[in-house]
């Protein structure tokens, strides 16, 4: 049972539109429910604010865009035809003020002559200030819905799947193919964007093998499931990528609806397929005539769908305008439902055939007839003016159904790299040769006869050849001839209904010299709305071809890009939001730091202690106190996050010589050295220390933030550049932890704990602390005598506790990253990410003397480039000393505020030893400018501090404090 009588058997559902309460029936789309309630004015158009209604019944709907839902679930620009009504649904019209009925923006319609195609490009001419004024109005007037402000409360999932066969579209072709494959034992997935299976069977009363179409479709879906196939409804295959990967967005809740127990609103499937059958159907084409956008002007097949599937009759007096037989089916459907068909306007000169004859017996049928204008009353259609065999004739009507031909949905076929062929009969692009495992079926392949479609699909699915018995009261469908676009049309004949592009706009673009379809598209914005031109691109192409005097395929075609329909950003993000946006890496000693009252600093994925403020202390006061504690007594800092690699084997030194730009191969056992690494272009990208633990065993440390990059780089050098070396590289970052002990009392603290003599500066040795074997590296970053103590991760807690207790006993304690930063600035040590910014050579950073002259390391060739070899004009590392108060980090170095920047302050810190502020900076020709006075100027913060340039070393220039 279909039609209005069946409608009443479905349960009642309540919803609101623009605040008014309405009743719908379960299974209605929002569009069907609005039409059932006589709501024909649904939206205002994008540019001219013209009243718009519902034109289509599927995802191609260009006009009826609404906002659905409230709060974080608000979904703007939702097609009313693509929302299934649920109890409590709230929908709102868009782009209208103060109301949909009385929209002041409609004045744009009167001003249309002033805002033709590409008008905003024209506003770019003239002074930029003027554009700033235009922009405000353009942005305000041109509009779609507003995005939600609150976070989305619902979940979005990602899921991977594999199948032998993916079938897109559960119309008759897709069902037959999927059924044949599933029953032949293949792993099958069938995805359908609608909430029901059946496709065209939902609007046309055919029988297949003696069964009515809709029950046949539902039984087929059931059999696919029983054979182990997966059938997803409300699931849109929105992209076809390389390697037969298809992304499918499945809606588990309707727009604005609270999801069920899974708490998931949508699921993004990434389906890797053996084969893909595209049974994506076809989209009907509108006709071009003045006022073809009025509420009440609809696509013919959509009208049939509303009548038969939803039992909603969108008008009482209907005119059908058609270019082929399919329009007659709509006339019969409307008549069945009790509407009056006042005219069938057939564009063909001599329509003939059984269906036409049967229609002539029941309705006034006019040959060589086409609509040329519409008349409205209030905001809806009241009449149609037609040209009938050269004469004008008017009809009173509240519904105009347009059947202008069919456009096969070839999007996925094209995304998969397939080519298109041109079909002259239907004036349509149909799928041509494929590149991947895709094949198109049914209407998507330009087919029209159902029995043949089913037989072809069955075989494509893997079934043995068979016939399907199809009975169609209207007889077998004929290929859909496309409507011809008249050469000259009065009034606004819309082509792109969503972006308000008319035939006149296309003609104007042509006259202004836009010849290529890609230029035409961008200039007029045709096909660039959220519907991506599903109902408009073919008409525009036809018009362009007319103007060029070529056939449509010669006029060109724009690209079909994913996604096929608008996709919620949340579906792409999936679960990677909020706390799950990235992993959190916690230190082994996290609890120990927390017990000391640490405040945290995110450092990559790590959280490291920034400082340990005492009650009443600001973070700045705490870090300065901690730094002074290190200078005067002793401090302990967690350096476990440093990148650490063990490089071992007979050729370990040879590998390090290739990676490091300094001399490392001749390092004696038990000794270490500072080193840095270059990219191939000769610029420094990381630094660290290298230690020879044994003859064939080295330890390399480098920066925390560059740890993953360094692991990749070592792997590249070892495997790609030097595969013949006998060496292994093991990343120890997560195996070992380390604490650095620094300060004048560090030696005493360490010796007391180990009972051994502390290693000399840049020496290392193995010893034990708290019963744990440790490796002690005597390296100083702070400028004080210092030791890095390495222990296995699972033993670090005991080692840290022993070191901390001993340090506290010696008048010291823990210090954080800020204090470490203050200390290293005073010593002029560079840090990756601040001074090492990927733009400096070793010489720029004052490290030129350490570069191995013989070369033989990554980047040595790059260093020979004249632009790097000549220091003149380059940015050099310098020290800056504030002459007045705190120094703003990141500030530009200028001669005077507003001048051209000559460099910038990379790091700023208060002096640890003494008062005032100092910093490091990169300054053009800085090495020869010590003693100059410049300004550290930050326009964004409104700060301007005079500074004196000097060497990047503020403390203990001889390095006496860390040597013994």
């Amino acid at each position: 049972m279909t039609g209005p009588a069946a409608r009443l058997t479905r349960p009642l559902v309540r919803f609101r539109f623009d605040g008014r309460a309405y009743e719908a029936r379960a299974g209605d789309t929002l569009a069907a429910a609005l039409l059932a309630n006589g709501v024909t004015l649904v939206a205002r158009s994008f540019k001219y604010h013209r009243p718009r209604g519902i034109m289509a019944a599927g995802v191609e709907e260009p006009s009826a865009l609404v906002t659905v839902g409230t709060g974080g679930r608000r979904e703007p620009n939702t097609r009313a035809t693509d929302v299934i009504v649920y109890d409590g649904l709230e929908a709102f019209s868009q782009n209208a003020w103060p109301s949909l009925d009385l929209d002041l923006g409609a004045v744009n319609g009167w001003l249309a002559r002033l805002i033709p195609a590409g008008f905003y490009y024209k506003t770019f001419f003239g002074p930029p200030r003027r554009w700033m004024i235009y922009e405000r109005f353009i942005r305000k007037a041109a509009g779609l819905g507003a995005p939600p402000v609150e976070p989305d409360p619902d979940g979005f999932a990602h899921r991977a799947a594999f199948c032998d066969l993916l079938v897109v579209g559960a119309g008759p072709a897709g069902l037959a193919a999927a059924l044949a494959a599933a029953e032949a034992g293949q792993r099958v997935m069938l995805v359908e964007q609608d909430a029901r299976v059946g496709g065209a069977l939902l609007r046309d009363p055919v029988t297949i093998d003696g069964m009515a179409g809709v029950p046949w479709a539902e039984a087929a879906a059931q059999r696919i499931r029983m054979a182990g196939g997966r059938v997803l409804l409300r699931a849109t295959a929105n992209g076809y990528w390389d390697g037969n990967l298809v992304t499918v967005v499945e809606r588990l809740a309707e727009p604005g609806q609270a999801p069920g127990a899974s708490r998931l609103a949508q699921r993004l499937w990434k389906v890797r397929c053996g084969r893909v059958l595209l049974a994506t159907g076809a989209i009907e084409r509108p006709l071009a005539f003045a006022g073809n956008d009025r509420p009440g002007v609809m696509l013919s097949q959509a009208v049939r769908g509303y009548v038969r599937r939803f039992g909603v009759v969108p008008g009482r007096r209907a005119v059908i305008a058609t270019s082929h037989d399919d329009g007659y089916r709509t006339a019969f459907a409307l008549a069945e439902a009790g509407a009056e068909v006042v005219a069938v306007l057939d564009g063909r000169a001599t329509p003939e055939g059984d269906l036409v004859e049967r229609a002539r017996a029941r309705f006034p049928v006019f040959a060589a007839a086409r609509p040329i204008a519409t008349r409205t009353s209030g905001h809806r259609l009241a009449g149609v003016t037609a040209e009938v065999a050269g004469r004008t004739q008017a009809f009173a009507a509240d519904l105009l159904a347009m059947a202008g031909g069919q456009t096969p949905v070839v999007h996925l076929h094209k995304q998969a790299g397939g080519e298109l062929d041109w079909d002259e009969v239907t004036q349509a692009f149909v799928p041509g040769p494929s590149r991947q495992g895709q094949r198109s079926l049914g209407a998507a392949a330009g087919r029209s006869v159902l029995a043949a479609i089913l037989a072809e699909a069955w075989e494509a699915g893997g079934g043995a050849a068979r016939d399907f018995a199809v009975e169609d009261p209207c007889g077998p469908a004929q290929p859909a001839a496309a409507a011809v676009i008249p050469a000259r049309l009065p009034g606004k004949a819309f082509v792109d209904f969503q972006n308000d592009v008319t035939l006149d706009d296309i003609d104007l673009a042509w006259r202004e010299g836009y010849r290529s379809v890609e230029h035409l598209k961008r200039y007029t914005t045709l096909g660039m709305a959220t519907d991506q031109g599903k109902t408009s691109n073919m008409a525009a192409l036809a018009r362009l071809a007319q103007a060029q005097g070529v056939a449509i395929p010669q006029a060109g075609l724009t690209t079909f890009r994913p996604p096929y329909t608008p996709t919620t950003l949340g579906a792409f993000a999936g679960p990677a939001v909020g706390d799950h946006a990235g992993p959190v890496r916690r230190l082994r000693l996290h609890a120990a730091h927390e017990a000391l009252g640490a405040i945290w600093l995110p450092s990559g994925y790590w959280f490291r202690p920034r400082a340990y403020p005492q009650p009443g202390e600001t973070p700045g006061e705490a870090s300065l106190r901690e730094a002074r504690m290190v200078r005067s007594r002793v401090g302990l800092v967690d350096v476990s996050t440093l990148a650490t690699f063990e490089i071992a084997g007979p050729d370990a030194a040879a590998l390090l010589e290739r990676v490091c730009a300094t001399t490392v191969g001749r390092l004696a056992v038990g000794r270490g050295r500072y080193t840095f690494m270059l990219r191939e272009d000769g610029l420094v990208f990381d630094d660290g220390t290298v230690w020879r633990i044994a003859e064939e065993r080295f330890l390399l440390t480098s920066s925390t933030g560059g740890a993953d990059r360094m692991a990749q780089h070592l792997s590249y050098v070892r495997n790609v550049l030097a595969p013949d070396l006998r060496v292994s590289v093991v990343n120890l970052q997560e195996h070992h932890c380390a604490a650095a002990l620094a300060g004048p009392r560090a030696t005493a603290v360490l010796e007391r704990l180990t009972g051994d003599a502390a290693p000399l500066h840049m020496h290392c040795h193995r010893t034990a602390i708290a019963g744990t074997a440790v490796l002690v590296l005597a390296a100083s970053y702070s400028g004080e005598r210092a030791f890095e103590v390495y222990a296995p991760g699972d033993r670090i807690a005991a080692v840290w506790a022993a070191l901390l207790a001993a340090a506290q006993e010696a008048g010291g304690g823990a210090y954080g990253l800020d204090a470490m930063d203050h200390l290293r600035v005073e010593k002029g040590h560079v840090v990756v990410g601040a001074e090492v910014d990927g733009r400096g050579t070793p010489a720029d950073l004052g490290l030129g003397g350490m570069v191995r002259k013989a070369g033989g390391f990554v980047g040595w060739q790059g260093l020979q480039r004249p632009v790097l070899a000549d220091p003149a004009g380059r940015r050099h590392l310098v020290g800056v000393e504030s002459l007045a108060g705190p120094l703003p980090e990141g500030a530009m170095l200028v001669g005077r505020a507003g001048d051209e920047p000559q460099g910038h302050v990379t790091t700023a810190a208060p002096r640890v030893a003494g008062e005032g502020w100092i910093g490091l900076a990169l300054l053009r020709d800085g090495a020869s400018r010590h003693g100059e006075t410049l300004h550290a100027w930050s326009a964004t913060r409104g700060l301007d501090v005079p500074v004196r340039i000097g060497p990047p070393l503020f403390y203990d220039p001889e390095g006496a404090r860390y040597r013994d």
């Binding site: 390697g243 495997n719 595969p723 060739q861």
Partner: protein
């Protein structure tokens, strides 16, 4: 998204891999400066087939050379790089 036939792990999704560079932009440490800079900055970049160095970063971490058609995205061959690929 490409399906890459890792020589060690079999066919895996592209997102497990990292692209590094074209084979012709490989700079060997013993290359002369001019040759090295030409490899870095004056690459052939052909329309069509080329050799590319990839790494199965989120898998076996092995390196490989893909012979790939940049127009059709077809992967024509995959061969391993590194010590295990030495004769």
């Amino acid at each position: 998204m490409l399906l890459i036939d890792c020589p060690h792990c079999g066919p895996r999704a592209q997102e497990e891999f990292g692209y590094d560079r074209t084979l012709d932009s490989l700079v060997r440490i013993e290359d002369a400066p001019d040759a090295a800079m030409a490899a870095l900055y004056a690459r052939a970049n052909p329309r069509g087939e080329d050799d590319e160095i990839w790494r199965h970063t989120f898998g076996c971490r092995g390196w490989m050379v893909l012979r790939r058609d940049r127009v059709s995205h077809a992967i024509l061959s995959v061969r391993p790089l590194g010590p295990e690929a030495l004769p």
